[in-house]
């Protein structure tokens, strides 16, 4: 799965998520990526979120919307919201989860419970950051 979230100079947020699914999946299987609120969500008043990981888990937790709701209604930062979403009901929603998010102020968040999170970000004209491993 791949994804992107962005904040433009007019203060607008957007998200895009795309996937090739999982190896050996049943024909017609739908993962979280195309599900609005599942693998993707964006609303200017809070944040934009794209998810990756175990699609069935992310869908059942509506985790992109969960991050949005934690930012909007609980007042968490994007990083705090993603961190909570990673841990949300882990006893029922156990699996790989990774999130990227940007809030309305341009703060970026990358959170995962996996050892690999291929990701990158750039804020304004600052130097870009690129990582493959979570520890980077």
């Amino acid at each position: 799965t791949v994804g992107a979230v962005a904040l433009d100079q007019d203060g607008n947020l957007a998200v895009a998520t795309s996937t090739g699914g999982i190896e050996g999946q049943l024909k017609g299987r739908v993962g979280d990526s195309p599900i609005v609120g599942g693998g993707s969500y964006a609303a200017n008043e809070a944040c934009a979120v794209s998810c990756t990981g175990d699609g069935e888990i992310i869908m059942r937790g509506a985790l992109a919307h969960e991050v949005y709701a934690l930012v909007k209604y609980k007042g968490l930062s994007a990083t705090e919201a993603c961190r909570e979403a990673v841990k949300l009901r882990d006893e029922d929603l156990k699996g790989d989860k990774g999130f990227i998010a940007i809030d309305k102020d341009g703060n970026v968040a990358i959170e995962t419970n996996t050892n690999i999170m291929r990701c990158a970000y750039r804020i304004g004209e600052e130097e870009p950051f690129v990582a493959v491993w979570r520890e980077e």
Binding site: T1, V2, G3, A4, A6, L7, D8, Q9, D10, G11, N12, L13, A14, V15, A16, T17, S18, T19, G20, G21, E23, G24, Q25, K27, R29, V30, G31, S33, P34, V36, S40, A42, A43, N44, A48, T52, G53, D96, K97, G98, I102, D105, G106, V108, A109, N113, T114, N115, I116, R118, C119, A120, Y121, R122, I123, G124, E125, P128, V130, V132
Partner: protein, 168 residues
């Protein structure tokens, strides 16, 4: 200058670090850099967040080292079926597709659904027909299939064959 920023991902997974060869890691880093640059250039030039995320994801879809577009996984029948969605935070408009085949950039199809369709979500043949109607770029099946995906698919199928059959 107002704040602008972009974050991208190329997938999160728990895997044995030894499976990540130096060459693969370098290719992934290069792909991430290219995709980030594609999206950042849009934002830096004053373009919309929507254009930026589409540009970044198209770049990743065109890179065989990521599981989307070219380089997608194969389903049980050995076929590529792709899903994508896009959402505009300003208007809450969204577009999504699933089980789309042949479409070079599913994210552009999702955006076309968002902008030119009265529905939010189109599936399989309907999504492909919509792509054809709107002149989106299509590719033959072999474009999407990589040697790595075919090898992984074969391993999974061989493992499944080893499992005892439960019917008499």
């Amino acid at each position: 200058m107002p704040t602008y920023s972009i974050v991208i991902h190329g997938g999160a997974v728990t895997m044995d670090p030894s499976k990540m060869t130096p060459d693969l890691e370098a290719a992934i880093r290069e792909g991430l850099q290219q995709a980030l640059q594609a999206g950042w250039e849009v934002l830096h030039g004053g373009g919309s967040a929507l254009d930026a995320v589409e540009a970044a994801v198209r770049s990743l879809e065109n890179n065989e080292h990521f599981n989307a577009g070219r380089g997608s996984s194969l389903n049980k029948q050995g076929e590529v079926e792709m899903d994508a969605s896009i959402m505009d935070g300003r208007t809450l408009r969204a577009g999504a597709v699933n089980s789309a085949r042949y479409v070079k950039n599913p994210i552009t199809l999702a955006r076309t659904v968002m902008e030119k369709c009265k529905h939010v979500f189109l599936a399989s043949e309907g999504a492909v027909e919509f792509a054809l109607q709107h002149g989106l770029e299509m590719e033959a099946v072999h474009y999407f299939e990589t040697e790595k995906a075919r090898k992984e698919w074969l391993e999974i199928m061989q493992e499944e064959e080893k499992e005892p059959q439960e019917q008499d």
